[in-house]
Amino acid sequence: MKNLVEVKNIKKNYGKNEAVKGISFSIEEDEILGLLGPNGSGKTTTIGMLLGLLKPTSGEIFINGQKLEGNRIEILEQINFISPYIELPKKLTVKQNLTVYGKLYKINNINERIEFLSEKLRLERLLNNITGELSSGQKNRVSLAKALINEPKVLLLDEPTASLDPEVGDFVRSFLEEYKKEKKISILLASHNMNEVTRLCKSILMMKDGIIIDKGNPEELINKHGRKNLEEVFLKLSRSKNELN
């Protein structure tokens, strides 16, 4: 399988504070890679660097074979991002928001794309609603539609189901599984929901204090650390000294 994301020894310093201390990983096409770690472990910084919002202090990032540095615009056309901490303009209708982003991503058949995503994400009846008046679950699905408007090859998800009820959370997870399988995209999933990570991710990176302290598939990690589930592995690693460098 081809690697759509390749990260080579990236570091990020904020003054004297080393937020990310030289991490490397790759994501194959048709793969969901889980990025776990306690708050302040460097997950958001890593995602920020992959999105070109943060400049790595050193190291290289390749997306679909292209180096991020010097090809930011071409790469941004191929990736997208969803996070509960960013929102779409609240006063616009759902359709207006999706149209705006369709234009920004230079999508040719915007209406067809919106129709397709609306159907997939159960948004048909919400298209003319004001985005700010939607429930959390509905807003989440609209953000997901925005994140898929450009048919990204790489999707970065930062806690995509945070604050969602179990039914909507399950719908979003099922959708992501199906979409990834159908489109063969790469997904980086940062989440604190261990059941979600166990269900969706083929492999996992555990980060702490800016380094990757362990990696493997969920089952391997559970067996390796002699725990019952991924949550216990997470707690063990979060509370222990760094295991791998």
Partner: protein, 258 residues
């Protein structure tokens, strides 16, 4: 009560733009109205033969104000709606973002300006069109300076985050005393005159008064207005790109919060 006081006290002391905001508002208001009062006290007959000069200058100043604030508003809207990150991960060059904001700010300013211009004639019997063909150059010059200020403030927002917002609202007031909008430059102390001559505003408003009062055109004023506009415009673009790079290093683009 003390807790609430502390909440705001901590916020203010941790933010340089907020401290600056507290200090310069009273200073600027006193300075501006001081010069205006001084002018009317010593030049009581200056505007006798040119009804509407003040109103015309007010409309020109308002256009500048609308353009600059309009540009800032477009940028701030993205921060307030927490859409900022979405915008900066879209495949748009910085130049494309700026160009679209510049064009949108013009439309916003014109929407505000046209009714004001149309109202002055029936209400006060004054037409800003009395400035003739040179009105276009004056507006163009004001538009350029308004956009320049907008870009400079947006660069500050990128660099310092939303706490720079207060500066966004008050840049025009900060420059108003030096702009000589309602009085000739001679009214300013010599040191202030030297500063004023470094701004395009003084040339624009001096020329507007010159056309309306003396019925003559001084091309040199228009030339200097464009010259300084060019200098500041290029400077603002350079500063915006610099701030964008600083924001990428500091992480401001992903942490655009309080």
């Amino acid at each position: 009560m003390y807790g609430l006081f502390l909440r705001h006290f901590y916020l203010i002391t941790r933010s340089f733009p907020r401290v600056l905001d507290l200090v310069y508002w009273p200073t600027i208001q006193i300075t501006l109205w001081g010069f205006i009062s001084n002018f009317f006290a010593t030049h009581t007959t200056y505007y006798n033969n040119a009804v509407g000069v003040i109103l015309t200058c007010a409309i020109l100043y308002d256009f500048l104000f609308r353009t600059s604030i309009g540009f800032n508003m477009l940028f701030l809207e993205e921060i307030w709606s927490r859409n900022f990150t979405n915008l900066f991960i879209a495949p748009m060059k910085i130049g494309e973002i700026l160009t679209s904001l510049v064009a949108t700010a013009l439309i916003r300013a014109l929407i505000g300006l046209i009714p004001a211009v149309l109202l002055t004639s029936p209400l006060f019997g004054i037409s800003i069109l009395d400035l003739g063909i040179f009105l276009f150059f004056l507006f163009l010059s004001l538009y350029l300076f308004g956009i320049t200020l907008g870009i400079l403030v947006s660069a500050g927002l990128l660099r310092y985050g939303p706490s720079f917002e207060n500066i966004a609202w008050s840049t025009m007031f900060l420059l108003a005393p030096f702009g000589c909008i309602y009085y000739p430059i001679e009214i300013l102390p010599e040191v202030f005159q030297k500063i004023a001559y470094l701004l395009p505003l003084v040339y624009i408003f001096e020329e507007a008064r010159n056309i309306l009062i003396n019925q003559t055109v001084d091309i040199q004023n228009i030339y200097y207005a464009f010259l300084w506009n060019g200098v500041y415009f290029v400077l603002s673009i350079v500063l915006f790109y610099y701030s964008f790079n600083v924001a990428k290093n500091k992480g401001t683009l992903i942490n655009m919060g309080e």
